[in-house]
């Protein structure tokens, strides 16, 4: 288990319990089980308390947790017959965005998502989930494919943002994002997005302009990272706690603002503590959401999606 900074007290208690049990194993005559159990209970209570009222900055840390299930984990566990489709047909295949045909409970869909990677090697290969224009152009191509063959589109959003690199800019990062957002709005099939970790700015919008936007309980979605916001408005990147607070980037605030449609509850202590349960919860929510769109015509879908975004934010926090 990798503990976050604010989980240190928890790590101490859990560490003590483990220590006790290890000691007991060496000296069988010692009976520590009672004590250890008390510690377990204490740890459990602490975990519940910690996660009940996570501050926005702590949510950011949880959303970025390395043990959290990533796009590939969800695809592997929830979908069958996943057939990755690669390339933008112009320049390259971007490994930061994965996508392809797959079945969700036997229903054929197109699934697209940002993958951050799970160890150093795969993180580098995936560019930490920061896509280049090729990634967005691949997504556009896959959405076109979905529309042509009437397959729903599911996107799994988890990115710090689009990659700020020289080549990415030269090849039209902004244009690729704009076109991807445009494509999301154009396809005559249901588009469902789940923010599973970090929804980072334009790089997220490009895949998250959807009929229904779901968010995991401890995921975040924002216009800029709290560090970036702090360095611009506070002139001090260390003020990220204040920035995170002011930005309203938690799933709970975004639901209030009407920017997202549904929150998917996470297991106690976050998705990273029970990956299987978190993945199952997402699967269930996706299934239920998709069912709502059965039989809807392309025109109706597009019109409703447009209206949703045109009306968005008209009420502010009062919504």
């Amino acid at each position: 288990m990798n503990y976050l900074e604010f989980e240190k007290p928890l790590a101490e208690i859990e560490g003590k319990a483990a220590e006790l049990r290890a000691m007991a194993r060496n000296t069988p005559e010692m009976d520590v089980e009672k004590e250890a159990e008390a510690l377990d209970k204490k740890a459990e209570q602490l975990l519940t308390d910690l996660y009940k009222n996570l501050t926005p900055w702590r949510k950011c840390q949880v959303a970025r947790h390395q043990d959290r299930p990533h796009c590939k984990d969800y695809i592997d566990a929830l979908f069958t017959e996943f057939t990755p489709l690669a390339g933008d047909r112009n320049f390259a295949d971007d490994h930061a965005i994965m996508g392809g045909l797959a079945r969700l409970n036997d229903r054929a869909v197109v699934v697209i998502g940002q993958e951050k990677g799970s160890d150093t090697k795969s993180r580098i290969e995936r560019n930490f989930g920061m896509a280049r224009p090729e990634g967005y152009r691949k997504a556009i191509r896959l959405m076109d494919l979905a529309a042509r063959f009437k397959l729903p589109v599911i996107t799994l959003v988890d990115t710090p943002g689009a990659y700020p690199g020289k080549g990415a800019e030269e090849r039209g990062q902004a244009e690729a994002i704009a076109r991807s957002t445009e494509k999301c709005l154009q396809v005559g099939v249901p588009v469902i997005s789940v923010v599973i970790g970090e929804g980072g700015s334009g790089g997220a919008v490009a895949l998250a302009t959807a009929d229904k936007i779901l968010m995991l309980e401890h995921s975040v979605y924002s216009v800029i990272t709290p560090e970036g916001c702090a360095s611009i408005l506070w002139k001090d990147a260390e003020k990220m706690r204040e920035a995170a607070e002011a930005m309203r980037l938690t799933a709970q605030d975004l639901l209030k603002l009407g920017v997202v449609d549904q929150i998917i509850a996470e297991p106690r202590g976050g998705a990273q503590r029970d990956r299987k349960a978190a993945i199952e919860a997402v699967g269930k929510a996706l299934d239920a959401t998709l069912a709502k769109f059965d039989g809807k015509s392309a025109e109706k879908l597009i019109a409703a999606r447009r209206k949703k975004f045109l009306d968005m934010g008209r009420k502010g926090l009062a919504a």
Partner: protein
């Protein structure tokens, strides 16, 4: 020593240089350092007469020069919820807004206008970089949508002049949502068969570039305008190398296939007329016999009545330059 070089000398220098440049008469070109007489600079649309450096121009001044006889009317923009997030950094957002309104005399960072350009009805939206860096929030989104709706209503083309540091951070996620919102409006405009011309001016960055500023039927930029998604400083920090000369400038983007044209501000009006007339099936524009309106004459005329600047009856062999 340090105290003298770092504090005393700059203070003395700044006192003197301030005296050298009376604020309301002269300004200095930030590019070549030439002193430019204010009136001359205004007549030249804020372009340095020495080095052709394009300085910032407010949408209002731009529209005065763009519309026939400087006449246009503003298109009303639906008022968004003020301070939707109750955002507070070192200052409260409403206080920052008030300061920006006071310093610019404008309500918000985008001005929408309709009028005639070359006697053709056109809707224009201009982003005001001097207003909180032209940043895109709910109001700018509403303004852009209002511009599209007005264009559809009038069956007129839409020309947008972009200039922005990106999204309005004080509106958080709602500013980000202006990316899909404005895109919806562009789709409606395109479905109505109307042209959307995007003129990218210095600087156009972030979420604005990654939405409506890159979705024009025709993409024109002003010379040397910085146009990017991520700014050069962010990229240098990420890749830890120096960026090439002219990186992310209009001419660089033109070379990399991201723009149709780079056009000098003084040629913009004629070019827009030429392009829009072709896209909307109108015959070539013909210059009128009337003398070209002088700056001052045009402004008074503007207040009295819309004066026809161009006559549409075709006249042999006299294409509008």
């Amino acid at each position: 020593m340090n105290w003298i070089t770092n504090y005393v000398r700059p203070t003395i220098n700044s006192l003197f240089s301030r005296r050298e440049v009376p604020e309301n008469l002269w300004s200095k070109c930030p590019e070549c350092g030439t002193m430019l007489f204010h009136r001359e600079l205004t007549d030249n649309l804020q372009v340095c007469s020495n080095c052709n450096h394009h300085m910032a121009i407010t949408p209002r001044d731009r529209f005065k020069a763009l519309f026939d006889a400087g006449t246009f009317s503003e298109v009303a923009v639906p008022e968004p919820v003020a301070d939707p997030l109750q955002f507070r950094d070192q200052k409260k957002y409403p206080d920052r807004m008030k300061a920006a309104q006071k310093s610019t005399g404008e309500k918000e960072a985008m001005l929408v206008a309709e009028g005639e350009i070359g006697r053709m009805p056109v809707v224009c939206a201009g982003q005001d970089f001097s207003f909180m860096a032209g940043s895109m929030g709910m109001y700018v989104g509403n303004a852009f949508i209002a511009a599209c709706e007005r264009a559809i209503e009038r069956r007129a083309p839409l020309v947008v002049f972009s200039a922005a540091g990106g999204a309005r951070m004080q509106e958080g996620i709602l500013s980000l949502m202006q990316m899909p919102r404005t895109t919806v409006a562009i789709q409606m405009l395109k479905e109505a068969g109307l042209p959307y011309i995007c003129v990218l001016t210095h600087p156009t960055t972030g979420g604005v570039t990654a939405s409506y500023a890159m979705l024009g039927d025709i993409q024109i930029a002003e010379p040397n305008a910085l146009i990017c998604f991520a700014g050069p400083r962010v990229i240098e920090q990420t890749i830890r190398e120096k960026l090439p000369e002219g990186f992310q400038r209009a001419e660089y983007l033109l070379d990399h296939g991201m723009l149709d044209r780079v056009t000098h501000r003084k040629d913009m009006r004629d070019e827009l007329i030429t392009i829009l007339r072709m896209l909307t099936g109108l015959p070539p524009a013909v210059a009128a016999d009337l003398p070209a309106p002088e700056g001052a004459a045009a402004e008074t005329a503007a207040e009295v009545a819309p004066a026809p600047a161009l006559v549409e009856t075709p006249k042999a062999g006299e294409p509008q330059s």
